[in-house]
Structures are given as C-alpha cells and as structure tokens.
Point group: C2
Chain length 412, copies 2
C-alpha cells in the first residue's frame, strides 16, 4: 500500500468523458489499496482560450500580472470541480482544492511564481478519511492571499511539490505519451520507451526539447528525492521511472538522443584575439533579451579568431542585425550565419565511466559524411550542431549504432 | 461626491469590447468625483456553459453541490480579472476580488447560500487609495473557506450587500434595459420607464415576472435601506430609482402592470365542504414539489364546493395526474383544468389610500368582455387570472385607462 500523487494533464481531462476515464484510473489505484492525491491541469486548450482573452485586452504591464493569474487559475478550478463530481458519482469520496485552499504558498512573482511552502493539513485529513483530494495544479497564493501561477507546465511542479511534502512513494505524471523515449519515435522507428532514467539525464533531455516533463518539476523532484513515473493516461504500460542512479545497476552509456531544430548559428569572422572581446560581442545580444546557447571560439595563428554562437531560430534576424553593428565597432572582418541547422545530443550517465563516447559519435557521423559544425559537452551529454537536412539520418544512425532499440543496450 | 456600488450583468460584460465600454462608464463616474466599487457577473452565457458541463456529469446529490459552486464561481472570476486589466490599461487603478478574498461570508447551503457577513477592510483600503475594487458577484465562502454561490441572479444581491455594509449612497444595477417599466414594452406600446418606484412595488413586480431585478436583492435593499438604481449599460438615461416611499410626494395609485403566461389552473369540482379538505387536496401536490400560487375556494349552497388553484405551466400535467387520484380518495365529482390562462396584476402603493381600484379594474375588463376567472389581492396589488388570448388586450386597455403612459399619471 503506497501513497501516490497522480497528475493528469490537459489532454487527459479534455472533456467530461476523458475525465470519466481519469476517474476510473484513480479508482483502480484505490482498489489496489493505494492512497491517492490528484493534481489536474486545465481542460484541453482552456489555458490558451483564457490567454486569448488576455491578449484581447493586450495590457501586460507589471500591475496586470496579478489579474492574469486570477484569469488563468480558473482553468484548473473547473477541472477539479468536475473530476471531484465524477469521482463521487462513481462512489469514490473526493474533494476539490484550489491552490489557495490547500495553501500552496508562493512568492509574489505573478505568472512565474515559485512555491515556498505547501500545507498538508487538509490533505492528510482527507487521506485519513479515505477521501481523494483533487488539487488544482499550476496555482498558489502569496502571503496576502492573492492568486499566483507558477508558469506554463506548472502542474507537473505542483504534483512533485505535493509528493515531496507528503513524502509520497511515487509522483505519477499521466500524459499523452507512453513514457520517456530513447528518441523521438516520429523520427526514429526503433525508438523505445525507457523503463528508467536518472533525474540528471531527464533534465538534459527535457532542456533539449523532449517535451514530456517540465524541467522545473524534474529539478524539484531531484532536490527532494521524489521518484517520478511518466505514463500514458490512455494505455496500461508501466511507463518510465525517473529516479536517482541505482548504484547496484550498471547504467547504460547512452540513455537517449535529443534534438531540436529550433536553432540558428551566427559567426563573427576575423575578430581580434584580445581580452574582453567575447563580452563586447555577446553583451548587446543579451541586452536585446536574446538567449545564447552554445558558444565556440578558436584561437587562430594570426592573432585573429572566429567567434560562433547559437540562438533560437526566432531570434536569428534580430541577432544578425545587432552583430553587424557590433562587427563594425570591434573592427571584425565580417558576420556570417545559418538558420538551417539542428542540434543533436547524446545523453547518458554511463558516459562518466566510459571514455571515447564522443570519438565514437564523431566517427559514426563522419562515416555518413555528416559534417559537425559545433561541439559542446557536459559530464553526461555531448551536443553537436549539424546541417538540418542531415538530422533524421544522424538520429537514426546513432540510435542504431548505440543499440538504443535494445533493452538495456550497452556498449561496455 | 458619492460612494457608488455599480453592478454590471452578463450581457454588459459579454465580450472584451463590452468590458471596455463598462470600464469607460466606471471611469466617467470616477471623473465626476465619485468613489466606485464594482460588482460583475459572468460573461454572457458563461454560467450556462459551465452549467452544461455539470449537466454532462449529471450528479446532483447533496455532496456534489460543493463542487458545483467551485465550478460556477469561475465565471465571475474571469470577468473580474479582465475588467481590472482593462481599467488599468485605461489608466484607472483597479484590483479584483473573489468572494473569498473580500470575505463575503455565507452559510453552508451550497448553490443557494445566504450572505451572513461582508468584510469591508480591503474595500475601504482600496477606496482610500483611489483604487477601484472589482468584486465577483454571486459567490462567497463559508466558515471553512469553501466556495459557495448564492443562487441565480445573485450578483444583484452581492451588489446590494456591499452597498449596505459600505453605506453607499446608491447601488446602481446596470442591465440591458433602460429601467423599470410601467409594463412590458414589447406588449404595450405606451409603456414608460418609471423615474422612481418603492421597494414594495418593485418586490411585487419582480415576483410577478418582471425580470429586471432579483427579488432577494430588492428585499435586501429594503431591509438595509439601500437605494437601488436600475439603468442601461448602453444608454445614458437616469433609469429607475428604487427606494422608500417619499412621504412628501403623492404616490401614483398604480405604478405598473405585471403579467405572466407561465401559469395553469386546476379545479376540483364537487368537493365536500368539511374541515381539512384543502390540505387533503394540496398536500399531495406540495409533496411532489409543485409550487401553488393563487388559491380560491367558494362555499356553495349544497354543502359541496369547487376548489381552484394555479401552478406553473410546466407542472400542469403532473398536478392533474395527482389531483385525479386525490379526487377519488375524497369522493369529489371531477377535476377540470386549463393551461391557457394568464395572470395580470396591478401594483401600486397608492392603492392603500385609494379605494375602488379593484372595482375600476373589473369594470374596465368587463367593458372589453374579458372574463375574470380568479382574483387575489394584497395591500398594494390586485391580480386576476384571465384567458391567455385576452392578455395583450387587457394589458393595453388597463395601461391606457390608468394613464400609465403619462408621467406621474394619477387618478386621484
């Protein structure tokens, strides 16, 4: 008998008949003897609908953010009421809670608040009384009782926060996919649903464009040691367990391949190789609120160098315009760019104990004549930038070469 | 400089552009030097949309009512956020409040709770700071902080309650009509918007099917002596002031003519005239939750009597089935009925001091050969039941005869 926090996202509660299915899942878990606390998102596209109303008003000054939270938080409130009603109709005692009613205390940063504290009194009383608490995700209150929201994808974070304070055995994130895959199954046929993965790996995958789970929720889970299970609302498979590294188990060298096409590359050529030159180039870019991802600089023989970095594809033109001015100021030779690139990353905690993964990756790509334009590495990740048109080929080839289709595929 | 509570109903806030117009009205009142507290309903048909979701779940047991309130209260919450944002955009400081945030304390009767107490701390602080508080109508919280709603049309009551506790100079109910009319202008061409009317008269009109204002709001206003003004959100006229009788002013004999087609009549013929017979007839009808309106019983010469009463037209068939059984049990001769009737009422505080209004009414109807089937009177009202097909004729004839088209028309 375990204590489970079950979170159901927007597609899982998109209609009353979807909510019926969700209720049946909750009741099945209860029937197995588990205690369940439920967290839900707004129904289907409801948050977007509410957002559209705010866009119609079109006033986003600081003082309006308080009201945007009042507006957006209604989406989850509708779901908690309906799901509680359906549970009761099916004979399962249930009770809805807004963020304020639980008292999920956050800071004052409307529309992107951080959870400071979660009161457990109501939740514990309900669990004791065999009532399923149904909690609105994504929302909280500040100290003055004003409604706050914690940013898009925040319901995942709410679920993990509840699981942390309740010391739940598992935080189950129900979604519209079967779990976390070795890579995007729409691109690579052999993509396989992972049985387990570490927090660290999941963080790298999440931040690299694998949209299953919100990064903040994973960080939170890692910090408070809450095992997360990602699984499908519609299927019956066990999904993917995200947890700490298990010291008794040998870790696969590579757990997954993530990629994103949402990138563009800019290069300033013929930059004088003097101290402070990097900040003179990147300063104006940051000032324009453009996020820079990978940065590469090589020192050349003739005291001049080429400086390359990537930005989100949407920001490409603006970054280019800024760089052209900067190039003049710093007397650089010229600026070139490419917005037809993609970033592909191998992620795996096993890399730590296995040298040569990068070399092997480069050799595999070279064999397919795929040119690597940029490289960046972390302890458990190797990212490369390549021409976008080779992305599918690269993903498929690497997926096969590192035997990711095979259960516990391991090159050791 | 006055303190005004301004309430805007669903049709007045049906879209963001409607809300823009509402905001302009509020700002105009501020510009005249008034302090304003705003109460709003859900946008347009939003309450019906939420209600449809509840109907889809189709579970109305007592324990589900708590959740229906959680669901329905989101409608007003959306409006307060949007209106506050629009006000701020137009340069007017504003702040939204849910029922719980003001702390409108109600009893526990979910979906039809009664307001027990309204805290004024936040409202007074805002007024002091020149901020317009925008309050969600229709909702409150019970002592445990659970969301309650106070029944359909409840936003009017919320507005009056706020006006009462704040001792506001006027509670302005903005709606989609110009004010309170002498009778339905769709039926009687000469119908005129009244400049003022008493609480008592308004109560009779409201309960008789004049849908401008909710009865409970009028009762509340009468109890706490809050002057109400009903006026159009879209026009510029002064509307109708609902207040106490002004002893310095002569009251018109008749203020208005109300009518409803939503009635049916049932008669049990040949009932033995013995004690307790009325309750033996009406008991089973009430037990079926059918509301009885007018009741007439005449004692006949031969120790038997005819017993007639009216019910809502929707309940006609069910009431008829019940009566047929009852008639057998009490050995009555037969049961007859008519669901093509209408009720028409003259209302006016001036009746008190003017005898002969009823006689005059009956004479006018007789002159048009309109047969009166039932009569019921109160101190300030005379109601008659007539054949539905004569309703328009009766309304027009009486409206003219009592000179209601004329400003301060008075037969004295």
């Amino acid at each position: 008998m375990a204590l489970l926090v079950q979170k159901f996202g927007g597609t899982s509660v998109a209609s009353v008949s979807h909510i019926q299915k969700v209720a049946e899942r909750i009741i099945a878990a209860k029937a197995e003897g588990h205690d369940v606390v439920v967290v839900v998102s707004a129904m289907g596209e409801q948050t977007d609908t509410l957002d559209a109303l705010a866009r119609e008003v079109d006033f986003y000054e600081r003082e309006a953010r308080r009201e945007i939270d009042v507006l957006l938080s209604t989406g989850e409130q509708v779901t908690i009421a309906l799901l509680s009603m359906v549970l009761m109709k099916l004979g399962c005692a249930a009770k809805s809670y807004t963020g304020g009613q639980i008292r999920i205390l956050t800071d004052d940063a409307h529309t992107r608040a951080r959870i400071l504290e979660v009161e457990t009194q109501n939740l514990r009383a309900d669990i004791e009384a065999n009532i399923v608490p149904v909690v609105a995700g994504f929302q909280g209150v500040n100290e003055r009782g004003e409604i706050t929201t914690i940013g898009r994808g925040g319901s995942d974070t709410t679920a993990v926060a509840l699981a942390a304070v309740l010391k739940a055995d598992e935080c189950q994130i129900f979604t519209d996919v079967e779990g976390v895959f070795t890579t995007d199954p729409r691109i690579v046929e052999g993509a396989r649903c992972l049985e387990r993965i570490t927090f660290e790996e999941m963080l790298e995958l999440a931040s690299l464009g694998s949209r299953v789970l919100h990064s903040r929720a994973v960080e939170f889970a890692s910090k408070y040691q809450v095992p997360i299970r990602v699984l499908s609302s519609f299927g019956q498979s066990a999904g993917t367990l995200i947890t700490n590294e298990d010291p008794k188990m040998e870790q696969p060298v590579i757990s997954g391949i993530a990629f994103t096409r949402d990138e563009a590359k800019l290069t300033v050529l013929g930059v004088k190789d003097i101290p402070g030159i990097a900040s003179r180039i990147l300063g104006p870019v940051s000032d324009a609120n453009i996020e820079v991802d990978m940065i590469v600089q090589n020192v050349a023989a003739d005291k001049s160098t080429d400086f390359t970095f990537t930005v989100r594809r949407d920001d490409y033109q603006e970054a280019m315009d800024i760089l052209k001015k900067v190039a003049k100021d710093i007397d650089a030779r010229e600026v070139s760019g490419d917005n037809k690139i993609a970033k592909l990353s191998l992620v795996g905690v096993g890399m730590r104990s296995h040298a040569g993964v990068a070399t092997r990756m480069f050799r595999i790509l070279a064999k397919e004549s795929i040119n690597i334009q940029m490289i960046s590495t972390s302890e458990i990740k190797i990212s490369v930038v390549i021409d976008e048109k080779y992305l599918e080929l690269a993903a498929r080839t690497l997926h096969t070469a590192f035997e990711l289709s095979v259960e516990n595929g391991n090159l050791a």
